[in-house]
């Protein structure tokens, strides 16, 4: 244990004295988070800016007032409705995203009392899609009721979570946190491969150091890094408006478990790398594969391999990050408790231990035994 502690403390000192690497590894997922924040942060509970034309038609003013009165459950208004000064100014406002939707109200072509409503906007914009869907869902039953048409079906939305993801940032943040943790794979691989390139591994072998002592020391230092990554990602996400509904400590625990598996992958990558540059490149590829396959960016199909009883076991179930991500999402987005994510945590831990042990075994065999 003493040797493990010595390697741990040496590795920490080296990491502290080489902050560029940690900063780089951290910056990439933070940058991705920022991209999501800037590009896809479509607020699901946003107050949508809507321009209105044709409020002078009969019934239009009442509709606008009614829409103006619509509130989310937390009391925020759904729309900020403003009269459009003129069609050209309205079009400019849409193009510059000062307004999300232009609502044009006109008398019905059949000459009846009903209003005809047309929604204009950028159909490729998620903001327009969200706002226009919300407007339709509200206006159609309203106008039907005004025209005396019976309500055919009443649709109510019930979120799966207690409160649910409120923004795309909320939805993607757990994946980005996981991404940051998985960046430990190339870093671990690079640090270990560097010991090989420097020849310091030979020096350590001469001291009769065992592979598990070396790798546990390195891994513990990397897990400290992993905990730091989770904390920094949390902080950044919170600054960008991430709404956390679960236990931060539980999330950190999940992060540590996933970092354990990322380190195991890193050790295996180190075994097949001839130098630290190779290790960074190969480790980067392994990380990206894990990130995509575990569903951090988008959900993957189950890819069932075999069935045990009534359980379908998919190829992606063998990736610890798959279960880690699900657990993290359930905790952060849905406020799940330890008991509710216990199964996923157990799978993450079990698989992480398997990959870690594989990494230690392969590394010991490839790099630390007496050469034949």
């Amino acid at each position: 244990m003493l040797k493990t502690a010595l390697v741990f403390s040496k590795s920490l000192v080296e990491m502290v004295r080489e902050p560029q690497l940690a900063v780089l590894i951290l910056l990439f997922p933070v940058f991705m988070l920022l991209i999501i924040y800037i590009g896809y942060n479509t607020p699901k509970l946003a107050t949508h800016p809507v321009l209105v034309v044709g409020t002078d038609h009969p019934g239009a003013a009442a509709l606008v007032d009614w829409l103006r009165a619509q509130r989310y459950a937390d009391g925020r208004p759904m729309f900020n409705l403003q009269a459009a000064p003129d069609p050209a100014a309205a079009e400019t406002a849409l193009k510059t995203q000062a307004a999300t939707v232009l609502l044009r109200l006109a008398p019905s072509p059949d000459g009846g009392a009903a209003l005809q409503a047309t929604l204009y906007g950028d159909a490729t914009s998620m903001r327009f899609v969200t706002a226009s869907t919300l407007l339709q869902n509200l206006m159609v039953p309203y106008l039907d009721a005004k025209a005396g048409r019976p309500e055919v079906v009443k649709i109510t939305e019930q979120p799966l979570a207690v409160q649910g993801a409120q923004t795309d940032l909320d939805l993607y943040s757990p994946g980005m946190m996981l991404f940051a943790i998985l960046m430990l794979t190339p870093q671990t691989a690079m640090l270990v491969a560097r010991e090989v390139r420097w020849g310091t591994l030979r020096r350590l072998r001469l001291s009769a150091l065992r592979p598990w002592q070396l790798l546990t020391g390195v891994s513990l230092a990397q897990m400290v890094m992993g905990a730091g990554l989770v904390a920094v990602m949390f902080g950044c996400a919170a600054l960008m408006g991430f709404h956390n509904h679960g236990s931060v400590w539980l999330a950190v625990l999940i992060g540590l478990l996933v970092s354990f598996s990322a380190i195991g992958f890193g050790l295996m990558v180190a075994c097949i790398s001839t130098n630290d540059g190779d290790a960074l490149n190969i480790g980067g590829v392994v990380t990206m594969l894990q990130v995509f396959l575990c569903g951090a960016f988008f959900a993957m199909p189950p890819l069932t391999v075999f069935t045990v009883g009534s359980y379908e076991i998919g190829a992606l179930d063998f990736i610890p990050a798959t279960h880690g991500l699900l657990a993290l999402q359930q905790v952060l987005i849905s406020g799940a408790s330890l008991g509710q994510v216990g199964f996923r945590l157990a799978l993450t831990l079990g698989l992480s231990v398997v990959y870690y042990c594989l990494g230690v075994l392969i590394f010991g065999w490839r790099q630390m035994r007496q050469r034949t």
Binding site: V13, W198, R202, R203, R205, S207, Q370, R371
Partner: protein, 315 residues
């Protein structure tokens, strides 16, 4: 110096079709400085890697104090301290940190590792740089720290692969003196290409080539036994010179006697000619040949080495 510390028995190491070490058997005695000489690719580094336990021989074995290195205890391995040819340091640890770290890895207590480290830093003139990170040291300082790393756990046997490579003259002398001071209480095994270094430092030298041991003896004995021999240039008084007479007078004493008339010089070559100088001069006097000046170029270890391994360039 008769206690055997390391013994190799018919060591063989092959890499595919290449036999890097072929039946190497030798004994290294307690307290001696033992040199491995050989051209590039002769099998020196492979041999010392097997001596340290880093490489497993295909056949034969290494015994440290009678205990086999391969399959032996960790303690057997830690009796050896190895200083590799390349600089092997953790760039971002300070001199003191890396020495303490390695000392503790070898099982020294924190206090003892610190004391040992500070002493080594002092011995190798690195005390002022003890808190500097290795990457900021000059090449010579890194080499000295590299040497200290092999010694921090106070091993009984120190194996040094080209310890003077890349050192400036001052550092070279410092390291050489330090190695000689070590030899009183440690066994030192070193490889080198530097014949001068070997001649000055080692007690016995093994010359190997193509993985085989060619000679093993003290440098002095080798110089007397192997090679072209010492050369004595005897300047003669101007006049007629009798080459045949000189050759006849030195028969049995010199391997070669050649007269260079233009230079009025008789060139005499013989193994251990320096030791026989008095006899040679007496024999010439008896033949009526009077020298006006005598120059001696002694047989060197390099001559021995080239005689044994040839002049063909390697690798």
């Amino acid at each position: 110096m008769t206690n055997v510390v390391i013994k190799t028995e018919n060591l063989v190491k092959r890499y595919g079709a290449l036999t890097a070490v072929n039946g190497l058997s030798l004994e290294v005695y307690e307290g001696e400085i033992f040199g491995f000489l050989g051209p590039n690719g002769a099998g020196k580094t492979t041999s010392i890697n097997m001596l340290c336990g880093l490489l497993r021989p295909d056949a034969g074995r290494v015994l440290v104090r009678g205990v086999p290195m391969d399959g032996g205890t960790a303690e057997t391995r830690t009796r050896v301290g190895m200083c590799p040819q390349t600089i092997v340091l953790w760039e971002r640890l300070t001199c003191l940190e890396q020495l303490e770290f390695m000392g503790q890895m070898y099982g020294l207590s924190g206090d003892r590792a610190r004391r040992r480290s500070l002493k080594l830093l002092d011995d190798l003139d690195l005390a002022d740089s003890r808190n500097k990170q290795a990457r900021t040291l000059s090449g010579g300082m890194q080499r000295r720290l590299n040497l200290a790393m092999a010694l921090v756990h106070d091993p009984e046997i120190v194996v040094l692969d080209e310890p003077e490579a890349g050192l400036d003259p001052q550092s070279r002398v410092r390291v050489r003196e330090y190695l000689q001071s070590l030899a009183r209480h440690k066994t030192v095994i070193l490889t080198t290409h530097n014949m001068d270094e070997a001649d000055r430092v080692v007690d016995r030298v093994a010359i190997i080539d193509h993985g085989e041991l060619l000679e093993l003896d003290t440098p002095e004995a080798l110089k007397q036994r192997v090679g072209e021999g010492d050369v004595i240039e005897i300047r003669l008084a101007e006049g007629r010179h009798d080459e045949a007479g000189a050759r006849s007078a030195l028969a049995g004493l010199a391997a070669e006697v050649r007269l260079e008339p233009a230079a009025h010089t008789l060139r005499v070559r013989a193994l251990n000619a320096v030791g026989q100088l008095a006899d040679i001069l007496a024999a010439l006097a008896r033949a009526g040949i009077q020298p006006s000046d005598v120059n001696i170029r002694a047989n060197t270890l390099e001559d021995v080495f080239l005689k044994l391994t040839g002049r063909r360039l390697r690798e």
